[in-house]
């Protein structure tokens, strides 16, 4: 399996990750449900992680995979804190529609 990039080619992975990242951007812009926006952010993080692993294989270097490991730890912490914030927002305004959150607007 060591010759996977010979058979598939790094460019296919680059295109896949770019499209996946753009789908994540689209989700953040398109929906107003805050949970779906969080899921889109997860999709973007996954696209970047996949590209990291692809280039780690391309350069035959383990450090890219170590970085992906740390980024997964940060993503786990980020999701936990973000969902807790969403729960407390929901408790205050009984909806998580982001368009309702304009109390700070002058």
């Amino acid at each position: 399996m060591n010759n996977i990039l010979v058979q598939i080619g790094i460019e296919n992975y680059i295109f896949l990750c770019v499209v996946l990242f753009c789908i994540g951007i689209f989700g953040v812009l398109y929906r107003r449900n805050a949970i779906i926006m969080f899921m889109s952010i997860e999709i973007m993080l996954n696209a970047v992680n996949l590209l990291f692993v692809a280039f780690s294989t391309f350069h035959q270097d383990a450090q890219g995979q170590v970085f992906v490991f740390f980024s997964m730890a940060v993503a786990a912490a980020e999701v936990a804190v973000g969902l807790a914030i969403l729960v407390s927002i929901f408790r205050n305004s009984s909806s998580i529609d982001i368009d309702n959150l304009k109390n700070l607007k002058g």
């Binding site: 399996m1 790094i10 990242f21 936990a80 969902l83």
Partner: protein, 170 residues
Amino acid sequence: MSTLLIIFYFLSAITLATAFLTIISKNPIHSAIYLVICFFSVAGHYLLFNAQFLAIVHIIVYSGAIMVLFLFTIMLMNLNKEGEPHKKIATKLAAVISFGLVCFVMLAVFIKAMPKMETYRTSGQDFQSIKVLGKVLLNEYMVPFEFASVLLLVAMMGVVLLSKKEKTIQ
């Protein structure tokens, strides 16, 4: 066309389709289920790269922990109804147009950059088995590894503090 290429196209189709369905499905529970499938197919990509450690960690962290957290929050807020008010049509159009433009620009950049990249050749050296990765992680990256645990601890404390019910002031 080799078997690997067929597996790659199949997995990529699943990844992109479920990522898109995550965004456009109305029910948040359905979105979460599609996102689980998307994460599993990304783990399949990792396995295709022979990165076993990351595939296992990805399944445990994303498909296990994060998705349980998402589903739990959705059910806690009782959001599994389809009563989301629609955005204005102009906003949706703007989202679609910016999606297309960002996609176009990034793909164009990478297609232009492709001839500059060196060609790939394998050295046959083992660099990504769990054994090698563990040595790299615990020798060179010892301090960041420990700090990750501190980060997770602080995140846990913050979550408990945030989601604790505030006492009402008399």
